[in-house]
């Protein structure tokens, strides 16, 4: 109707002329049928409004409910973890049951060593594969590798543990930090591959073309121009991957085993924070439970610090782009 009214006059009269003719015959007041229809419509409008309000508030409640678990977990971590977080926790070795005090010095160092060794394995392969995916965008192999790395990314971490155990623990006959590092490094590869690819893709084509036009060879363009420009993004991806493997426990059960003593050797079983938390949480002793909470608080803090560093690296990148 609104559309008709907007049209030029000549057109409107020709179209609506037959419709106007019977109008005077109709009574001015609405018939019963019309009234019933109007009431029904009014009812649906009201119902639609109510349904709308109910569903939107349900969505709002879902948002609140989804943030609650995190707040609860952080609250309990702070409350129960902070009481046993003494300096001794960072400097002392684990003590047997019954002896007060004791810390997780070896487990903290062990976790840092594992993260470092895993990165040494996972970083080059992951970044290299990501570069390949970005440089060979349309190739069939690139598509296959991208798909496989996504699938690999979703595999349970325990499977990686079995893989490292089968090839690095079983033949040697004893558990080792190296096997754990391989399992964790293998987990890092698919994560890094995808973030590196995304970051490299963000590098403007013009930059690459400018380098090539100046006579740079492809490999030099790739390494000195593209990787350097995407650098902070790749660093962020690497830090996120490190944060994700820092708390992994399942693969370590099959490879690293845990160690009550001081060890920094890659060939020996090594202590790790997540393993220690697991052992202490399962135990029936109160003082070990307290240590487990403290360990969890330290582990979360470590992960958050790495995460904040990752955010910082990204912000710097955007700052550089803004200039």
């Amino acid at each position: 109707m609104a559309g008709l009214a907007g049209r030029p006059d000549g057109e409107r009269t020709t179209v609506s002329a037959p419709a106007i003719a019977p109008a005077p015959d109709r009574p001015h007041r609405p018939s019963d049928r019309q009234r019933a229809f109007a009431e029904r419509t009014l009812g649906t409008v009201q119902r639609r409004r109510i349904v709308n309000a109910v569903m939107l508030s349900l969505l709002f409640l879902a948002a609140i409910a989804a943030t609650l678990p995190l707040l609860f977990i952080l609250f309990h971590l702070m409350r129960l973890g902070i009481t046993s977080l003494t300096p001794a926790f960072f400097t002392k070795m684990p003590r047997p049951v019954g002896e007060a005090g004791g810390g997780m010095a070896n487990a903290i160092v062990g976790t840092l060593i594992l993260i470092g060794a895993a990165s040494a394995i996972g970083l080059p392969i992951g970044v290299g594969a990501g570069l390949y995916l970005a440089e060979r965008r349309g190739a069939r192999l690139a598509n296959a590798v991208r798909y496989l790395s996504d699938v690999l990314n979703g595999l349970p971490s325990i499977v990686m543990g079995i893989f490292a155990w089968q090839f690095l623990v079983r033949p040697v006959g004893h558990f080792s930090a190296l096997a754990g590092a391989v399992a964790l490094g293998a987990m890092m590869i698919p994560m890094l591959t995808r973030t590196t690819e995304e970051m490299v893709r963000l590098v403007p084509v013009a930059l690459r073309e400018a380098a090539l036009a100046l006579g740079y060879s492809k490999w030099r363009t790739s390494l000195t121009i593209v990787v350097r420009t995407a650098g902070p993004g790749i660093v962020t991806g690497a830090l996120v991957a490190m944060a994700r493997i820092a708390g992994e426990t399942a693969p370590l059960l099959f490879t690293v085993l845990g160690n009550q003593f001081w060890s920094v050797s890659l060939a020996e079983p090594i202590a790790a924070l997540p393993l220690q938390i697991f052992e202490y949480a399962k135990s029936p002793y109160e003082e070990w439970h307290a240590l487990a909470w403290a360990g969890a608080l330290v582990l979360i803090s470590l992960i958050l610090v790495i995460g904040v560093a990752a955010r910082f690296a990204t912000r710097q990148r955007f700052g550089a782009h803004g200039d």
Partner: protein, 330 residues
């Protein structure tokens, strides 16, 4: 190639060392490509090695018990009889609980963030939900043992069983000790929530504005817009996200091991303890006495691997499909 031609032209000129350098860099280019290709090939190779490792480790058990390994419910290390049915059952049940709880929450948050939340709220809420993914499994387990289990034992389970009167049904009968498939399923729900919500949010944000505006212009309320225009557009992506969450739930190990009670039995009651495939491997690996026991555990690992491979393959394909058709449309 073109640089090679250029080198040939320059080589005829006076300056002799330059073409050598360009030819050298062409070779370097090729080497560089090979190196990158080699790195990329590491990924299929890793997958292949995974298959080989699990196959080698699990083969003895599969050869001994055949297909019955997956259907038998007897797990008796003393007698040397192994069947993985209870673990498979527990895995399925806990994952279903997790998805039933996490799907409405995850999709709800995603919808709230994409269509309702003011810009100022969006960032912090998304950050808080994403942070759930950063918490290690073992910390979830710790929290579960000391906070969730007492709550379930003293509040939720009696409430479900007695106050709501669900104790009469098969699903909520029996004593409520705490460690149970329900506890494991609930912690899994919290753990997969960030994955479902992150993917859903991504897909929902990809729904074009015009789609929403068209619905509103037709007189739809906001909910009708969401139901009629936004969700159908993003449907297969959301399903992909849910299946991806399923993949996570199937393979989650530590938190489940700490909360499920670790018992080989198939019970209809959610209040009863059970086992999942991953928790079975993690729990019995250290005490595996014989080679056959070890091999049976690895065979469970192989089963888990195959199932998650299939689930992930389907999920990735669905998400990828949305990305393709989504960008194809205006």
């Amino acid at each position: 190639m073109s640089e090679g031609d250029g080198a040939a032209v320059i080589a005829n000129g006076d300056d002799a060392p330059r073409p050598l350098r360009i030819v050298g860099s062409a070779i370097a280019d090729r080497v560089y490509t090979w190196v990158l290709t080699a790195f990329a090939l590491c990924i299929p190779a890793l997958l292949l090695l995974l298959v080989i490792a699990l196959g080698l480790a699990g083969w003895p058990a599969f050869r001994r018990f055949g297909f019955a390994f997956l259907t038998s419910s007897t797990w008796n290390p003393v007698a040397g009889i192994y069947g993985a049915a209870p673990a498979i059952y527990g895995t399925v049940v806990t994952s279903i609980i997790a998805l039933i709880v996490a799907t409405p929450l995850g999709v709800g948050v995603a919808l709230f963030l994409s269509d309702l939340a003011p810009r100022r709220v969006r960032q912090p809420v998304a950050f808080l939900v994403d942070l759930l993914a950063a918490i290690p499994s073992v910390v979830y387990g710790l929290w579960g043992i000391f906070v969730l289990l007492p709550f379930l034992r003293e509040t939720l389970m009696p409430f479900l069983r007695d106050t709501l009167g669900l104790g009469g049904t098969v699903f909520f009968s029996g004593p409520a000790y705490g460690p149970s498939m329900l506890a494991a399923g609930l912690i899994l729900a919290v753990m997969v929530l960030p994955y479902i919500s992150a993917i859903s949010r991504e897909v929902l944000l990809a729904v074009p504005r015009s789609q929403r505006e068209a619905a509103l212009a037709l007189g739809a309320t906001r909910w009708e817009m969401i139901r009629g225009a936004v969700i159908p557009y993003a449907k297969s992506g959301i399903i992909g996200g849910i299946i991806l969450g399923l993949g996570r739930a199937l393979g989650e190990t530590m938190a489940v091991t700490m909360l499920i009670g670790n018992r080989h039995e198939i019970s209809a009651s959610l209040l009863a303890p059970g086992y999942t495939m991953a928790s079975l491997i993690a729990n019995e690996f250290a005490e595996a006495s014989s080679d056959l026991h070890l091999s049976a555990l690895m065979a469970v690992g192989l089963t888990l691997f195959v199932i998650t491979m299939i689930v992930n393959g389907i999920a990735r394909w669905l998400v990828w499909q949305v990305g393709r058709t989504g960008s194809g449309r205006p």
